[in-house]
């Protein structure tokens, strides 16, 4: 193999790597999968990076026959391929995710719509008195969550309807489970579950990550939810009904701002 041929192979490999990244980002954006990875405000950055990768690939192709001053060993390209493979598994598989992240293809549109109308709804929810029946809507989930946890006693006795994924761990008190969604501040690395601790019979029959609708009345429970050894009063949902429902276009991920 001639020296020139090797050098061209390096440029070709660079070019193909950038092209692969660019197309992968484009695929993620087109399919609404970006919202399972990062906060919607990051979309523009990532899509911009996709365009820049295309430019870098083009520049490498322009110089395909020229010898690069600095050559890249194979190890330069492997990590990128690794990340693309891992991310592909993450966005296409609901089973490996820590919670229900397998949003359908309409999720991005739904979540973007939530972001645009959240401000008004959130502001309204924070000043209005709590209604007799509290609905955990997509666009008010974060606000209502905060309000109930800020003053659980004031909310006691109110009826609640909430949709989310079912979660039970051994560390939770006997006969309780969590009805929750994932809260994302910036990306899927900082996600955490937020929701209500629910109490009711036969909770063991449901599998973790099942999408459910729960309704019941609020009470309070003394619970060490931070794991610090100090218990505090938090809302408790005493269940009237708990049933698996079709998730549809409902978002499993909540963006607080």
């Amino acid at each position: 193999m001639s020296d020139n041929h090797d050098i061209s192979a390096v440029r070709l490999a660079r070019s193909l790597t950038f092209l692969a990244l660019s197309f992968f980002i484009s695929w993620l954006a087109q399919n609404g999968k970006l919202s399972t990875l990062v906060h919607p405000r990051m979309n523009l950055w990532i899509e911009g990076a996709g365009v820049l990768f295309l430019v870098l690939a083009f520049v490498q192709m322009l110089r395909l026959s020229q010898r690069p001053r600095r050559s890249d060993p194979i190890s330069f390209f492997v990590p990128i391929i690794f990340v693309v493979a891992i991310t592909f598994i993450f966005v296409t598989s609901g089973t490996l995710a820590p919670a229900d992240l397998a949003a359908n293809d309409d999720s991005l549109a739904v979540e973007n719509a939530i972001i645009t109308k959240r401000n008004n709804a959130a502001a309204k929810a924070s000043i209005e008195p709590l209604p007799a029946t509290i609905q955990f809507d997509d666009d008010r989930y974060w606000t209502i969550y905060n309000r109930l946890y800020d003053d659980p006693v004031a909310a006691s006795g109110h009826k609640v309807v909430i949709q989310g994924f079912f979660r039970h761990t051994k560390s939770m008190p006997q006969g309780t489970a969590l009805i929750a969604r994932n809260l994302m501040w910036c990306c899927s690395a900082d996600m955490s579950e937020i929701g209500l601790v629910a109490k009711g019979p036969d909770l063991e029959r449901l599998k973790n990550s099942t999408w459910v609708e729960a309704s019941g009345r609020l009470s309070t429970i003394s619970y060490d939810f931070s794991g610090s050894g100090k218990k505090s009063e938090i809302p408790l949902l005493v269940l009237d009904s708990l049933k698996p429902v079709d998730k549809g276009a409902t978002s499993g991920v909540i963006f607080p701002f």
Binding site: F18, I80, C186, A189, G227, S228
Partner: protein, 327 residues
């Protein structure tokens, strides 16, 4: 081999956290690494060495002060600062100035300040000012120590054996020499310079991406194996709490533009020491950036640098937290 359902669930959970953390961190940081390498390549192709040197005071300590504020003009987070700090050093700025920029730029980034303000708005504490103030003091202190070491051991190019010499130093870069000598690059036409800029960026991005991805993978593994709630059991004593805050900021490797919210949920109700340690160290240094720095710095020197930064931040936070908590 028989695996109990409980163990299987734990393994699946850990795998889920590893994959989601790795994917999230990768797609959050790659655009900024690309931006950093492009800015770095633009400086290389378009800005002469002497213009950079002229922009900074000759007095090294004043130069450090200028570098501390430079991040306001270049609103970038920590992934983009490494290639830029490297380029500033290559352009002939003192090592201490490059270190000051490396540590402080993500702290003075307007996005970091704004998100910290929003996260703690209404808590009764001006946490965004405390974070900014403590971070700048810590960055100046570390850069001043680097400067003192440089003076103690003479000219930077002669101090290969000194403890901090390898950090972003000229002697660390023989593996990545400049693609084109500056005289040739500056003499070229605009079109050639633009192509050269993308050429630099292509190489630097692929070169640094593998280190960044290695760092992210280790951070994701750590997050999968160590639940964040495990830390909260050890937050009673202020010294241990400060260490826990520093440790979690380092290992979690979160983006400085959003880590304030995570810090609040992890530590705000429990320990102010841990909270400040987490908020101040996070943008300055974390696991993924350490691995990225390993591209240019010998492991022994890098280890000492990490310890120095952690000690300075830790001592500072431990000393002033009672005062800050009262404000």
């Amino acid at each position: 081999m028989y695996v109990t359902p409980d163990v299987e669930a734990r393994i699946r959970g850990a795998m889920g956290i590893f994959i989601s953390t790795l994917s999230g961190l990768a797609f959050e940081t790659i655009p900024f690494l690309l931006l950093g390498t492009l800015l770095s390549a633009a400086i290389q192709s378009f800005v002469p060495d002497r213009a950079i040197r002229r922009a900074f005071p000759k007095n090294h300590y004043l130069s450090i002060l200028v570098a501390l504020g430079l991040g306001v003009l270049m609103p970038i987070c920590e992934c983009a600062t490494v290639p830029l700090a490297k380029r500033l050093r290559e352009k002939g700025l003192p090592l201490s100035t490059a270190v000051a920029f490396l540590l402080a730029a993500p702290l003075v980034n307007p996005m970091t300040i704004a998100s910290t303000y929003v996260a703690f708005n209404g808590t009764g504490h001006a946490v965004f000012l405390q974070r900014l103030g403590l971070g700048l003091v810590a960055s100046f202190t570390v850069a001043a120590v680097v400067e003192l070491f440089s003076r103690r051991f003479g000219a930077l190019e002669e101090v290969a054996a000194s403890p901090l010499a390898g950090l972003i130093g000229v002697q660390s870069f023989p593996a990545t020499p400049l693609l084109f000598p500056e005289t040739k690059a500056q003499a070229a036409g605009l079109g050639t310079r633009i192509i050269d800029m993308f050429e630099h960026a292509s190489y630097d991005f692929l070169d640094m991406a593998r280190y960044l991805i290695a760092g992210i993978s280790i951070a994701a593994l750590a997050r999968a194996c160590i639940p964040a709630s495990a830390l909260s059991k050890y937050l009673g004593a202020p010294a241990i709490a400060t260490g826990a805050g520093l440790g979690s900021a380092y290992v979690l490797s979160l983006c400085s533009s959003a880590d304030a919210f995570v810090g609040r949920s992890l530590f705000a109700p429990i320990s102010y020491n841990a909270l400040l340690g987490f908020l101040v160290l996070g943008p300055m240094l974390d696991l993924k950036n350490t691995i990225l720095l390993a591209r240019f710095v010998k492991p022994q020197l890098l280890f000492r640098f990490v310890i120095l930064v952690a000690l300075v931040v830790g001592i500072l936070v431990f000393a002033v937290t009672p005062l800050m908590e009262a404000l």
